[in-house]
Symmetry: C2
Subunit: 359 residues, 2 copies
C-alpha cells in the first residue's frame, strides 16, 4: 500500500477549491465537508487516497455523496454521518463490507463526503469519481451509464432516518425515489448506491480526479500568493479555455422538485464588451450561449470564476453585478460516448435542439 497518498490537512483547502471549480457551479459548497474532514484528521484519522488501478478485482467499493439542492446546503448544515449511515445500510442489505469508497461526483461538496466516510469507516478513498465534474441527478454517473446495479441504494438524513431502495427497476426510478425522499428529508441527505466490484470501478470511474482537484486548487493558491492573474493561471495549467468575461446583469433562481434551477445573464466586459451571454442552470451550469450561440454545453464543464480572484462561484452564490470569467474544460472521454450522451448530453437536460459539440 506504499503508493497510496495520505491525505494531509494541507490538501484540504486546495481540494475544496479545485472541487468547487470542477463543480461547474453546482455540487454544493465543499466548505462544511472540509471542516468535517479537518476535524477527523485532527482527531487522528488516517485517510489514504488509493489510485484507481490499485483496486483489487473483487474489492467492494462504496459509492456515495450528498443528494439535494445545493442552495439548501447553505443553511441546512450536514450532521456529518449521513453518507456513512447510507453506506452502512447498503452494506447491511447486501451482507458485505466495503474496502474502499469512491465519490459519485468530484465537483463540489461530494468531493469531501466519501473522504468523511473513509475517515469514519477506516478505509481508503479511491482517486477518481463517477462524473469528473458535478451533475444534478443520480443516474448521471459513469457507473450507472456503464451498467452499475441501481439497487440496493440508501439515503440517510441527519435525524436518523434511513431509507433503503431495496429493488428498483432502473436508475431513473432510483433517481425519482431518492429525489423525493431527499426533498422530504429537507432537500439535503447522504446517499449511497449499490457497492461495486473493483474491476468494474477500474473500468468505469473517471480516474485521478481527487488529485486533479488538489492540483487545480494548488494552482489557484500559488497564483494568489504570487499576485498573479488567477484566471490566466487556471487556463494555462488545466487545459481550460476562457470563453467570456462580464458582469451578471440578471439572475433567476427557483427551487423546484428538489433542484435549484435558473438562468444567469452576463453583459460582456473587456474583450467581450458589447456581447451578451446566458447560462442555464440545473444545480450546475448546463449551457453557455454567447450572443445567442451555444458555445459550451453539457457534459463539457462550464465554470464561473470571480474575475479578480479566480474564486469559483457556485450557482447559488451568483448575484447581480458580480464580475465573472466563464471558462470551459472538456469532460472526460467516458462522458462523451453515445451511451453517455443519452444520459448527460444536452437533450437529456431538456434541450432537444442542441446537439453536443465537444470543446
Amino acid at each position: 500500500m506504499s503508493d497510496f497518498k495520505r491525505l494531509e490537512e494541507a490538501d484540504l483547502m486546495p481540494l475544496a477549491l479545485g472541487a468547487a471549480l470542477l463543480g461547474t457551479g453546482g455540487g454544493g459548497n465543499p466548505y462544511v465537508g472540509m471542516l468535517r474532514t479537518r476535524e477527523l484528521l485532527r482527531k487522528g484519522a488516517k485517510i489514504e487516497i488509493m489510485p484507481l488501478e490499485a483496486l483489487p478485482d473483487d474489492a467492494w467499493v462504496a459509492e456515495c455523496g450528498g443528494i439535494g439542492a445545493p442552495v439548501v446546503g447553505v443553511e441546512k448544515i450536514e450532521e456529518g454521518g449521513e453518507c456513512h449511515r447510507a453506506v452502512m445500510a447498503v452494506e447491511e442489505t447486501m451482507g458485505i463490507k466495503c474496502s474502499a469508497v469512491i465519490s459519485a461526483e468530484i465537483g463540489g461538496a461530494n468531493s469531501m463526503e466519501p473522504i468523511i466516510v473513509a475517515g469514519l469507516a477506516g478505509i481508503p478513498v479511491v482517486d477518481g469519481d463517477g462524473m469528473g465534474r458535478a451533475f444534478p441527478e443520480v443516474q448521471m454517473t459513469t457507473f450507472f451509464i456503464y451498467g452499475a446495479e441501481p439497487s440496493p441504494a440508501a439515503i440517510a438524513d441527519e435525524k436518523g432516518n434511513v431509507v433503503v431502495f431495496r429493488h428498483v427497476i432502473d436508475m431513473f426510478w432510483l433517481e425519482k425515489f431518492a429525489r423525493d425522499v431527499s426533498v422530504d428529508m429537507g432537500a439535503g441527505a447522504g446517499f449511497a448506491t449499490a457497492p461495486m466490484r473493483g474491476d468494474f470501478v477500474r473500468r468505469t470511474a473517471v480516474p485521478g480526479t481527487v488529485t486533479q482537484a488538489i492540483n487545480i486548487g494548488n494552482t489557484v493558491l500559488r497564483a494568489r500568493a504570487k499576485h498573479q492573474n488567477v484566471v490566466e493561471k487556471i487556463v494555462e495549467e488545466t487545459g481550460a479555455k476562457l470563453f467570456f468575461t462580464g458582469k451578471i446583469s440578471d439572475i433567476e433562481r427557483s427551487l423546484s422538485g428538489g433542484f435549484s434551477r435558473g438562468k444567469a445573464k452576463i453583459s460582456g466586459i473587456g474583450d467581450w464588451a458589447g456581447s451578451e451571454a446566458e447560462i442555464a442552470i440545473q444545480n450546475e451550469n448546463l449551457v453557455l450561449w454567447v450572443d445567442g450561440v451555444p458555445v459550451i454545453m453539457v457534459p463539457d464543464l462550464i465554470m464561473n470564476l470571480e474575475l479578480e480572484t479566480g474564486e469559483p462561484i457556485t450557482t447559488e452564490m451568483l448575484r447581480y453585478g458580480q464580475r465573472v470569467a466563464v471558462i470551459g474544460l472538456p469532460v472526460h472521454d467516458l462522458m462523451k460516448t453515445p451511451r453517455a450522451l443519452e444520459i448527460v448530453g444536452p437533450k437529456a437536460f431538456g434541450y432537444p435542439d442542441l446537439t453536443f459539440k465537444p470543446l
Copy 2:
C-alpha cells in the same frame, strides 16, 4: 387450530360489501382485491381466519395494506403481489418469518389485501385490524397509536420496485416518506409495517372486524334478497343510526399530496326535507354537518349508502344527483382514548374548532 374459520368463496361478496361500508367512503374499492382472493381460493389456497385471542405471544404478525389515493385505484389496477412483496421485504430486513397477517384497516380494499398475502404466504389472517374502519394515513392505526415500532416498513409497486424504510424516527416520518414514494409509484402501492409480536397485537388490534364485515355484508344481501329496506336493516342489525337522507347537490374533489380531498353537499329529502348537510372528505368521510352543526366526526364512522339499494358509496363514486342515506356508527373504544384522539380526532384532521363528541 380447529377454531379457525376457513374463508369460503361465499364469504367474499359479503366481506367486500361490509368492508366497503366500514370504509366510511374511503379505503378504496375492495372489488379487484375480491377477484384476486377468489382466484386464489379457486386455485386451491386454504385461507384461515384466526381469532385474535388465538395469537401466540411470540408470533410475528405482519401488518399490511394498500397505500395511495382510492380514486387512482379505479383506473390503476393492482398486480396482486404488491403487499406480499412489501411483507417479504420487512421479513428479510428483520430476518424473521411471520406466522400470521393482519389488516391495517378493515375498511375498503385493505380488507382484502392481507387475505391475498395470507393466501400467497400460506399463513392465516387475523380476525381484526388496526382501525376498525378506514383512515387516510399510515400512523392512524391502533398499532401505531399504542406504540408499534415505525420501522422497518416497506412499500412495493406492481413494477418490481421495493423501498424499505429501514430506520424512521417516528410514525409521522414514516407516513411522509411512504406517502411520497407511493405518489412516485403512481399513487397506489402495497405497504407493510414492522411485524409485531402476538401479545402486542392481541392488546391493540380492533377485534373481530373481518367477521363483523362479513356479517354486515350478509345483512345487506339478505335484506336485498327479501326486498326489505336495506338501510333500515343495516341500522337495525349493526347498531348504526340514520343521520340524514338527501340528494347530492354539489361535489368537490381534488387529488393532492397523494390524497383524495373534497366536500359533498347534500340537500335533504324525506324527514330531512329543507335541511342541508355537508361532508368533508380526506379519502374517507371526516365530518358530517347538518344545517351547520357537526353531528358526526372522526373517528366515529360516517357512511353514505344509496338510499334505495343500501349500497355503500365510496367518496370517489359520489356524484351529483345521487340519493343517499348517511348513517353513523360509533368507532371502537381503542380509537376514542385521549391518546388515540390526538392521532385520529378532528383536530388531527385539521379541524381545530371541533372537539370530538362520541356518538
